[in-house]
């Protein structure tokens, strides 16, 4: 696999990349995000875990404003999230997103999926975009599928293409919204390996997942959410071996021992 640089221009800079301050959101009567404060530093890998309905996917989706918030502020690289419009589109291009259901463009080939954003948003010329796309597809191990359509690929392959599509925009931060939850068990590892490689390369990542193995091995920090609140934040070792809150102990006892 060839090496492709990912947002290297930011390596020198340090500091907080994503900052959420007192973020609140309701879905009707349901208070799905309650006073969320979270800061993610450049190059940090943060894994968000928690039971279903705890608001972790919603949290992930507010960061590129696929979900709007009711109050509080979210800033990315010092800039607050703008209203829907051109400025927001520009900001989203800098925030890569990988979805649970892959969401590859069904009417476009794998290669076109990875070049579309480069050509239409970054205004790269077609041959440059294709060159970069092929290198990225090679990096995630699906170069041989470049001319196929998404429906012809396995779930694991589709998700790796989706990662390549996000990387093609040279994002400052990558959001993963349960990237392995829709995959057959034997395909989970091929996606996690790609994510682990990304983490080693210094990509800033926010990962919502149920994969505790990934959290242990790749995360700098684990954020545990329950009922719309951040209940506990800790480094993985500490969180898994010695959780402080009862809620986290209860959650871990249910998923780790069976």
């Amino acid at each position: 696999m060839t090496e492709v640089s990912v947002a290297k221009e930011d390596v020198a800079a340090t500091g907080d990349l994503v900052v959420l301050k007192s973020v609140n959101k309701h879905f009707g009567a349901l208070h799905v995000l309650q006073d969320i404060d979270l800061t993610i530093a450049r190059g940090e890998v943060v894994v968000v875990i928690g039971p279903s309905g705890s608001g972790k996917s919603t949290l992930c989706r507010t960061i590129n404003r696929l979900e709007t918030i009711d109050s509080g502020t979210i800033t990315i690289d010092g800039k607050p999230l703008p209203e829907e419009g051109k400025a927001l589109a520009r900001l989203r291009a800098d925030v890569g997103m990988v979805f649970q259901s892959f969401n590859l463009f069904a009417h476009k080939t794998v290669l076109e999926n990875v070049t579309l954003g480069q050509i239409k948003v970054r205004k790269a010329d077609k041959s440059k975009a294709e060159e970069k796309a092929r290198a990225l597809l090679d990096r995630v191990g699906v170069a041989a599928q470049a001319d196929k359509y998404p429906a012809q690929l396995s779930g694991g392959q589709q998700q790796r293409v989706a990662i390549a599509r996000a990387l093609a925009m040279d994002p400052k931060v990558m959001l993963f919204d349960e990237p392995t939850s829709a995959l057959d068990p034997e395909m989970i590892n091929e996606v996690l390996e790609v994510m682990q490689q990304l983490a080693r390369d210094g990509m800033t990542m926010i990962v919502v997942t149920h994969e505790m193995g990934f959290a242990r091995s790749a995360a700098n920090r684990v954020v545990f959410m329950a009922d719309g609140r951040i209940v506990e934040e800790a480094v993985p070792d500490q969180f898994f071996s010695n959780p402080r809150s009862d809620r986290a102990k209860d959650f871990l006892s249910k998923i780790l021992h069976h």
Partner: protein, 239 residues
């Protein structure tokens, strides 16, 4: 020529001449050519205007959504005859709109196309909107997530998939449009239905004339439906 039945064939020929002879006095092909022109120009126009209406109806701007919704609900509930007559009596006679022509025939043809476009686009819009509803929300979310603008999300990701799943309902709209061109006869456009009226008035061949005109329309619409049905299967997006 076989023996024993001399003149049988010539008798047939003579009968055929008596029955079909009058057709030579009428420009049947010319009339159907006008029908085809009405249909094609109106189809192109209503596809464009219908797509814009659909974009307005799914867009983020409430005012645009309101205008799109109001347009569709008003226009599709007015009889086409009323719309076509309005273009002639209202736009042309009262307001003096000539659509850039001094000849009354050309003006009427253009007014008919305008009326057909205004009417048919409401149905195109709804056929497209049902197609847009078949595109999973995640497709638009993924498109927004890589930084595409609303217009780009629609034109590069959502509409191409929506069109592919709207081919069959759009074919229905096109078939209805082809037959609806006959309403243009109401403002004197020399298409197939006007010719039929003229022929029926002049000749004692009601059934035959009706059958010929009906056959002409079937020849236009049947392949349209079959071909577009095949195309619809061919371009369907696999998920």
């Amino acid at each position: 020529m076989r023996g024993g039945a001399p003149g049988r064939a010539s008798l047939h020929a003579e009968a055929r001449e008596i029955v079909f002879d009058f057709l030579e006095d009428y420009d049947l092909l010319g009339a159907f050519w006008t029908t085809v022109q009405l249909a094609v120009l109106s189809a192109v126009g209503s596809l464009i205007w219908g797509t814009l209406l659909a974009a307005m109806r799914v867009g983020p701007v409430p005012l645009m959504r309101g205008i799109g919704t109001a347009y569709v609900n008003i226009v599709r509930n007015i009889p086409l005859t009323v719309i076509i007559l309005f273009t002639s009596l209202g736009l042309n006679n009262t307001l003096g709109v000539t659509l850039g022509s001094n000849e009354i025939e050309t003006t009427n043809f253009r007014l008919a196309v305008l009326g057909l476009v205004l009417y048919t686009s409401a149905f195109v819009c709804e056929a497209l909107r049902s197609g847009i509803n078949t595109v999973p929300v995640g497709q638009a979310e993924a498109a927004r997530a890589i930084g595409l603008s609303f217009g780009q999300v629609l034109s590069l990701v959502v509409l191409p998939q929506a069109f592919r799943s709207s081919v069959v309902p759009l074919a229905n709209v096109l078939i209805a449009l082809i037959k609806n061109t006959t309403v243009a006869a109401a403002i004197g456009v020399a298409e197939a239905a006007l010719l039929m009226k003229e022929m029926i008035e002049n000749e004692a061949q009601l059934l035959l004339i009706s059958a010929i005109i009906a056959l002409g329309f079937v020849i236009l619409t049947l392949p349209t439906g079959l071909i577009l049905g095949w195309v619809g299967k061919k371009v369907a997006v696999k998920r």
